[in-house]
Amino acid sequence: MTIFFGKLAEFARGRARALAFGLAAAIVATTLPAATPASAHGERSQQAFLRMRTLNWYDVKWSKTEVNVNEEMVLSGKVHVFSGWPQAVAKPDVAFLNVGEPGPVLIRKGAYVGDVPAPRSFTLQVGKDYEYKLVLKARRQGRFHVHVQINVEGGGPIVGPGEWITIKGDMNNFTNPVTLLDGTTIDLETYGITWVYTYHFLWMAAAAVWILYWFMTKGIIARYWWVKAGKANELITVNEKKFGGLWLAGTMLAVIFGYAWANSAFPRTLPMQAGLLKGIDPIPLPPQTVTAQFKGGSYTVPGRELAVKLVITNSGTEPVKVGEFTTAGLRFLNPEVFTTRPQFPDYLLADRGLSVSDPTPIGPGETRELTVLVQDARFDIERLSDLAYDTDSQFGGLLFFFAPSGARQGVEIGGPVIPRFQAGATL
């Protein structure tokens, strides 16, 4: 019986999916040239201050950009939790490492913060840096934009950089094997689905029989008439009551049998696991030898230029240069430091987007006032220029300093900026 219904469900599923896909394919065929794929996942509508001053993503890497169905890839990187976390957003006391993707096109086989598996929510400490890794397994064929993302309770999804991932193959071949505690392996992609259909649809069919039985006895209008005529109590016969009793007895027997069967078929079940994960530690970073004190800033709207005045103190042993400013997933690079273009999604990488008023290295023990200019159309395209219209017009981000030895230090900068609406306005 179960096999029959299973096959029926499978058949129906196949037919319906084929129909839906067929119709969708017809639309695709006629409209493909006109449609352009979306790359963002809604992050551009988030307020600039929220994106700049919550999580600063860096060193984000996608191990592959082309995978086959069933093949795994790794999305990894680091994230700095901004010290000046905005008042309008709840602190990341409850956070969840997530993936920004259009539905489960890749499934999340593993999520780690540091080395700790993080299938549930955890706490992030403000001002600290964390390393994360997401192991993703390709499920649905196509080309999709895949972001790292951390959801913060009371704050919403905070989306990191995204990259196009091409998945080849066929979703019908996807499997998701999982080994249970008792050692058996199941395919979670399809596990139990036939039984779910069978169980639900049998009960629904029984409900339809019950309803139609009563409907067919006298219909609706005649019964209404009978009740109006004061003959309500004649409408249900003794035999019908007996039938109802039997129906209920059968139902209860089925319920008892189903419950007992489930308990014997699955004798070892556990409740769902919940609660905050503990033991998630930040990256142990060495003490900073470079500091940057914010001395004011402005954003020139027509020129898409963020100008920030900083007093930088280098108390290290090597001279340093300002090489990169990263905020809201965007990277603005100083071409004097980055002579080759790093591997990173183009829509977020302004490889000539950063300049400084004095390009000479800041020597050990030196304190210097500098103006850092961040200028690129991406600032506008990614809607960070809307900072000028936010209720909290403060920017934030990480400024990276580079030493000749290759050592890199990220320094958090941020503060209020004054919008300039006239072209040519200066700091």
């Binding site: 119709l23 449609a35 209008i221």
Partner: protein, 258 residues
């Protein structure tokens, strides 16, 4: 054309018009609506993913916002048009409707109610839970997401128009509904109608709690409250049946001996 032919065709018309019940206009309306909604669903399948994830993308403007700016005025025109037409063509001699004609209109109203019920299903069930599908899967980055453009601004106005049509049909053609206002029928129309302005509460609430969709959040409960009023279909159906019985008294004995 000869006089005989004219007479003959007139007789045919009379015979045709004497059909007491004809649900085919309702069937056809529902079939057309179903085809339309399936088309919409296919559109959504493709353009939801391709152009619906980022409300600031130009393709979102093209494929989604343009749809909304097209549908809203059309719906407003349809609402006014149906109400206006039914009012304009109302029976101005409502006290003198013959029993058979009244029955015919009552049954036509049942057809209208069928269309309304059909659109209520699509709006309140299909597209509303679909909204959960979309918003719990992707990031809800605007008030005008693809699922909202089809749910709030297409499927809801369509059931409102259908409910309005049913209400106005009864109001302009059926004596019992024309002389006084049926309380259940008014609630049956007005309650679900209020779901539409209640979108204001929903979106205002979401400005506080950005982007994550918990379907059971209290800010959604306004929809629930107004949705309850669809149960006034009970009283509406009773009012129709009461009159059907009154008009069919001659067969009471037959019915009560069934």
């Amino acid at each position: 054309m000869s006089l005989t032919t004219e007479k003959a065709s007139g007789a045919v018309r009379a015979a045709e018009s004497d059909t007491i019940v004809n649900y085919w206009p309702a069937y056809w309306t529902m079939i057309c609506l179903a085809v339309f909604y399936i088309g919409i669903r296919i559109y959504e399948q493709y353009f939801g993913w391709k152009a619906g994830l980022d409300s600031f993308a130009p393709e979102f403007q093209t494929y989604w916002l343009n749809l909304m700016w097209t549908e809203l005025p059309l719906e407003f025109i349809a609402f006014c048009g149906i109400g206006g037409y039914l009012w304009k063509t109302r029976d101005r001699n409502i006290d003198k409707v013959a029993p058979r004609e009244e029955m015919r209109r009552l049954l036509a109203l049942v057809g209208w109610l069928a269309i309304y019920a059909f659109t209520v299903y699509w709006g309140a069930s299909y597209f509303t839970e679909q909204d959960g599908t979309w918003h719990q899967t992707v990031i809800r980055d605007t008030d005008f997401t693809p699922s909202h453009i089809l749910e709030f601004y297409l499927s809801y106005p369509i059931y409102i128009i259908a409910g309005w049509g049913a209400f106005m049909y009864a109001r302009t053609r059926i004596p019992q509904f024309a002389k006084k206002i049926s309380l259940p029928f008014l609630l049956f129309f007005a309650g679900p109608f209020m779901i539409f302005p209640n979108i204001g509460l929903n979106e205002w609430g979401h400005t506080f709690w950005f982007m994550e969709e918990l379907f059971t959040a209290p800010l959604h409960w306004g929809f629930v409250f107004f949705g309850w009023f669809a149960l006034a279909v009970f009283g509406t159906a009773c009012q129709v049946l009461d009159r059907v019985i009154e008009l069919s008294k001659e067969y009471e004995a037959d019915v009560l001996s069934l």
